[in-house]
Symmetry: C4
Subunit: 221 residues, 4 copies
């Protein structure tokens, strides 16, 4: 990428690390909020404080980038993903994948081949998304009267079965909001499957290109 | 596409928008018919009226195209898909995807790259098909004595689990017709999976072709 | 394919049609045997007669090809698939797909593009295999004391959910043999998924190759 | 692969066969340990002895390769997979796939085409991993009070449904450790799906490259 020196690009480069840290704090505070309902003293208000402050930081970043882009209302449309994340801040931690990528680039390590990078991104996204989704589903479900997902361990197990599109059905969300989160996670499961399959397929095709070589090893186990 | 100036092609271009609108009306009338069984007064006869009128429009379009094609009985075979849709008009709204494409082309917007278009088409098809399928399954199931799909929300949830090939099995159709619709939706789920995976794979391979460039970004989140 | 004029190749060309018909008879007799246990009079002995005669024809074909190949014991290994089919004649009807292909070639119709042919083969294989598998599972299961698959309709529904890898789990085989058949069908489900995805992916990549053209239509619905 | 003559490479070539045999012994001893809890006399101590000796051999191999690599602590990171296998020796048998490959290469048989090799590797891996996973899940589950997986046959059936991502959900692990193993197997199921799909896709694309030829056969059944 030729370094883009517009003010927007410079802002984005500088804001990357702080935003990544804020995202992690946001996720951590949400996890504590959901998993430790009996936090004594100022614990719960502190969590709420971190959540709202972090959201404020995201909002400021959005506003600044809108401003610097010099676009009018069109920004909302061309950055639809950013707009969505602004209203669903739980998706924000997924941007950590991009931060990870930026860090990799800066440390100047020899880049992994494309299929390996795609695997790493897909894996990281799956872990972040699975954890966030399990938290959200657990929050919705564990108090529902006829729920089958009752502990966070249950939620994690259900999440794995969903992201792998296995779907045992021993545990299922029963509340409308829990199901809505679940649908989002299924879509991610499909995309994850696509990423795994696609990168595997690409890797094989690259092997084909230099076929006949003895270095056509099977995938590492 | 070189603009085809045969009378059939001109008919198809002119009929596209009215047919798309008719399709939407058909789907809307079907939704109201299924979801609002207690519609007072002339509501339900009006729904039926719209359904039959719309179907009549589809039949006229089919007849005109048959006539203009100058083909004999062979038309039925070479246009097997159109023939199928004539008898299963619920599949008609899927053609909205094509109408969307035509609109995109006319407005002269810069075309999205192929993998993005495939994603958009697959997504649109999944939404239209999922909604139609959920309606049809709900209509068959919600009055069956031992049904587990009892509300339209249930039907939507079941649809998502089916299209993603997750298949929890907490809710399943039990009537023969409901199951027949479900089998059709599973086949669409497979095709959807193929579209997602295939376009992802193609996109990765294109990245490979210009490999080494720093712009090999991970998929947007 | 350059026409191979060895005696083995000529035998195979000549035997193709009779073997295809025998396969169909075998499948039909098996279906009647399983689905009509109360067949009066000579019905059931006749079924058995067809089954054993058909199997005899398969065995003769295997023996002749072994002989004509001029190979010794190595034939069993190099034709492992044929050997397997000899002992699991229910898989034989799958060769109808090849017969269909041969017929297509002889009639000299313009060949479909590769991805369409793969779709047709995958579809035909899925239908044949699903029907055969549903029969076999129904035969094993419907008399088991704690079975959930009790009618042939149930078996067909379970088959579709399995081949699409959806796996609701409302109906599952419970006998060891039924489960063994089910495992074979899951493997076919995976292969089917691979075929659908792979041909979709190939088709997209071909579109890529002539990218930019307006004829890059979305998949037909 | 140009034969690497470093001492590490020579060690690895020489150690391959003994390690493969040790892996098989390890798996066999584990299977006996799990499946025959009532082994009389010295049977169970002997199993334990084989398990620990085999693990010792793996540890020695790891240590020797670390030494010969001339790397410091970095070895642990660059050989993360080996390190993982050292602590999860049950994954070790998967290296049999590599040993199989080495044997194939030495016997100088004509190499199978790439897609066939990938299928063979994926199949072998699935069988080894499925068997090991079924053993581990059975060990965890069959004594749990509310378990649904009660016999080894159940565990095998559950394994097949999981690796194929079908996931009926008639049998599911309920203990935390059993679920942890299950999550590992789901990930393998995804990878397996990717391998099947990817190699199928690659094979189709190769057919495309020499398209039009009559030898574009459908996949063998």
């Amino acid at each position: 990428m030729v370094e883009d020196d517009s003010r927007k690009a410079r802002w984005e480069r500088r804001a990357e690390l702080p935003l990544a840290i804020t995202s992690m704090l946001f996720l951590a505070a949400y996890a504590v909020w959901v998993l430790a309902p009996g936090l004594p003293g100022t614990g719960r208000p502190a969590c709420l404080g971190v959540l709202f402050t972090a959201w404020g930081v995201f909002a400021v970043d959005y506003a600044v980038r809108w401003r610097l882009s010099g676009q009018g209302a069109g920004f909302v449309r061309t950055h639809a993903l950013d707009t969505l994340v602004l209203f669903l801040p739980l998706l924000r931690p997924l941007r950590l994948v991009r931060a990870y990528q930026a860090v990799q680039r800066r440390t100047g390590r020899p880049r992994l081949p494309l299929y390996a990078r795609v695997s790493v991104y897909a894996g990281l996204s799956a872990v972040l998304l699975g954890f966030t989704g399990a938290l959200a589903v657990y929050q919705q479900e564990h108090t529902a009267p006829d729920a089958s997902i009752r502990t966070f361990g249950d939620a994690l197990w259900w999440t794995c079965a969903t992201l792998a599109t296995v779907g045992y059905g021993d545990l299922v969300p029963v509340t409308p909001l829990g199901r809505a989160v679940a649908v989002g996670m299924m879509m991610c499961g499909l995309a994850l499957l696509g990423a795994v399959t696609g990168s595997f397929s690409s890797w094989l095709l690259q092997l084909f290109a230099r076929e006949g070589g003895d270095d056509a090893k099977p995938p590492e186990h």
